[in-house]
C-alpha cells in the first residue's frame, strides 16, 4: 500500500489481510523528474503533488486530479495506487491515457512498461504479475490544449459515470483521447481521433465536434451498474467527448 486510501476502505469493512506492506516511506518513490519531454512521476506521487507541482507541464492530469475526491484524500492517494486498484472509471486513467503515458513496472524479470490505457484490464484487475511493483508513471509533457469532461452523481467526491480526456497536438495536427467509465477498460477512440486529424483546419466547426461525439459513443462498450445503464453511459460518452473537443479546440492557436 502507498497512500492507503483504497486499502483502508476494505480494512474498515472488516477485510483481514494476510500481510500489509507500506511503501509510503520508501525513499525516492515520491520523486518526480523531468527528462526532456517526459516526466517521470514516482509511484508515490499524490494527486495533490500533481496539482501543486505539475499542473503547468501536465494540465490534463491536473484537470482530472482536481475532480478526484477531496483535499483530504488527494493529499495521500497516489495515481499509481489508483491504477493498481483497477478502477476502469478512474480520472487519472483517462488523463494518462490521453497523454499516452506509460506505466513503469519492476519485478523479478526486470523492468517493463505498459501503456496506461491498457494497464487496467478489467474492473478490479490490472496488468501486474506476482512479485511486480509499479514504480513510476512516464507522462509526456503536454504539447497543446487539453480538456477533461466528467459526469458523476454530483460535482464533488464522485467517481465518474463516464469521463473523456483529450489532448491536442498542434505540431502533429493530431488528437489523443481516452474514455473511462464506458467499458470494462479505458478506451482509446481511434476512429474519433482520426477524424480530428483529418479535420484539423475546421476544428472549430460544431459539426466536427458533433461527429467526434458520435464516433466516441460508437466506440464505447459500457457495462451497466448502479451509476448508469448502458444507454445512459453511451449517451453521456458522446456528449462529454463533444464538449471536451470543443473546449480544447477553442484554445488551438492557428498559425498566421
Amino acid at each position: 500500500m502507498a497512500g492507503g486510501t483504497g486499502v483502508l476502505v476494505d480494512l474498515n469493512c472488516g477485510v483481514e489481510p494476510v500481510a500489509l506492506i507500506d511503501l509510503s516511506r520508501v525513499a525516492g518513490l515520491r520523486d518526480a523528474t523531468r527528462d526532456g519531454d517526459l516526466i517521470r512521476l514516482g509511484a508515490g506521487v499524490t494527486y495533490t503533488d500533481v496539482l501543486e507541482r505539475h499542473a503547468g507541464e501536465l494540465p490534463g492530469l491536473a484537470a482530472a486530479a482536481r475532480t478526484v475526491a477531496s483535499r483530504q484524500v488527494r493529499n495521500r492517494a497516489t495515481l499509481a495506487g489508483a491504477l493498481v486498484l483497477g478502477d476502469p472509471s478512474g480520472d487519472a486513467l483517462a488523463a494518462l491515457g490521453a497523454a499516452e503515458a506509460d506505466v513503469e513496472i519492476h519485478g523479478p524479470d526486470g523492468r517493463r512498461t505498459v501503456a496506461a490505457d491498457a494497464f487496467v484490464t478489467a474492473p478490479g484487475a490490472c496488468d501486474l504479475r506476482p512479485g511486480e511493483l509499479v514504480t513510476a508513471l512516464l507522462v509526456p509533457v503536454a504539447d497543446g490544449p487539453v480538456a477533461y469532461a466528467k459526469a458523476g452523481a454530483r460535482n464533488a467526491m464522485a467517481r465518474a459515470v463516464c469521463a473523456v480526456a483529450i489532448a491536442l497536438h498542434p505540431a502533429r495536427r493530431t488528437a489523443t483521447a481516452c474514455v473511462v467509465g464506458a467499458a470494462p477498460t479505458a478506451i482509446r477512440p481511434s476512429v474519433a481521433e482520426a477524424l480530428v486529424a483529418a479535420s484539423w483546419d475546421t476544428l472549430g466547426d460544431p459539426a466536427i465536434a458533433e461527429r467526434f461525439g458520435a464516433l466516441v459513443a460508437a466506440a464505447v462498450d459500457p457495462i451497466p451498474d448502479a451509476r448508469g445503464s448502458v444507454a445512459y453511459r453511451r449517451q453521456v460518452a458522446g456528449v462529454l467527448a463533444r464538449r471536451a473537443l470543443q473546449r480544447a479546440a477553442a484554445e488551438v492557436v492557428v498559425a498566421p
Binding site: 483502508l8 474498515n12 489481510p17 500489509l20 507500506d22 483530504q72 484524500v73 464533488a156
Partner: protein
C-alpha cells in the same frame, strides 16, 4: 507506536495491524475530537492534520502515522488560555453549527484552506470544503462562517 496529538505525546502499545488512525485516536486514546461516521473517506468528519497535511483519519493506517504530529479540532483553541480560534468564533456567530457532528472536521479543513488561500471566493470555499458533508445541509452558514473568519484572521 508514538503519536503527538494536539501537542500531547502518546506511546501506544495495543495497535493491531489493520487498524486505522481514527480507531487508535478514538478507541485506544479516547480522543473524540475526530468523529467517526462513514469510514470510507466520503464524509470528512474525521479530518485531522498529519504533519500539517489534512487527511481522513479513517483512511490512514495507524502504523503509517507512527511518529507523526496529529492535529484535531481540539488544536484550534489556544493551548494557553483556551481562547477560541477565529474559525470557531465565526462558526458560532454565523450559526454554522446545527447538530455539530461535522463541525470538528470542517474547522480543521477550513483552517487548512485558509492557510493556503487567506481570501477565498465562495466558489473556492465550496470546492475547498467539498470533502466535508453536513447532513443537516447547513452549508450556506458554514460558508458564511469561513468568509467571516477570513476577514477576521490576520494575514
Amino acid at each position: 507506536m508514538r503519536l503527538t496529538v494536539d501537542g500531547t505525546p502518546h506511546e501506544i502499545d495495543d495497535v493491531h495491524g489493520g487498524q486505522s488512525l481514527l480507531r487508535v485516536l478514538r478507541d485506544v486514546l479516547h480522543i473524540t475530537s475526530a468523529k467517526n461516521a462513514c469510514e470510507q473517506g466520503e464524509c470528512g468528519s474525521c479530518t485531522v492534520a498529519i504533519d500539517g497535511e489534512i487527511a481522513c483519519a479513517c483512511l490512514v493506517l495507524a502504523a503509517q502515522a507512527d511518529g507523526a504530529r496529529v492535529e484535531t479540532a481540539a488544536s484550534l483553541a489556544s493551548p494557553g488560555d483556551g481562547a477560541l480560534h477565529p474559525l470557531q468564533v465565526a462558526f458560532m456567530r454565523a450559526g454554522a453549527v446545527q447538530c455539530g457532528f461535522c463541525t470538528p472536521g470542517l474547522v480543521v479543513a477550513a483552517r487548512d484552506l485558509l492557510a493556503r488561500d487567506p481570501d477565498p471566493s465562495e466558489a473556492d470555499i465550496r470546492e475547498g470544503l467539498n470533502g466535508n458533508l453536513c447532513r443537516c445541509t447547513g452549508y450556506q452558514k458554514i460558508i458564511e462562517a469561513v468568509q467571516m473568519a477570513a476577514r477576521e484572521m490576520p494575514r
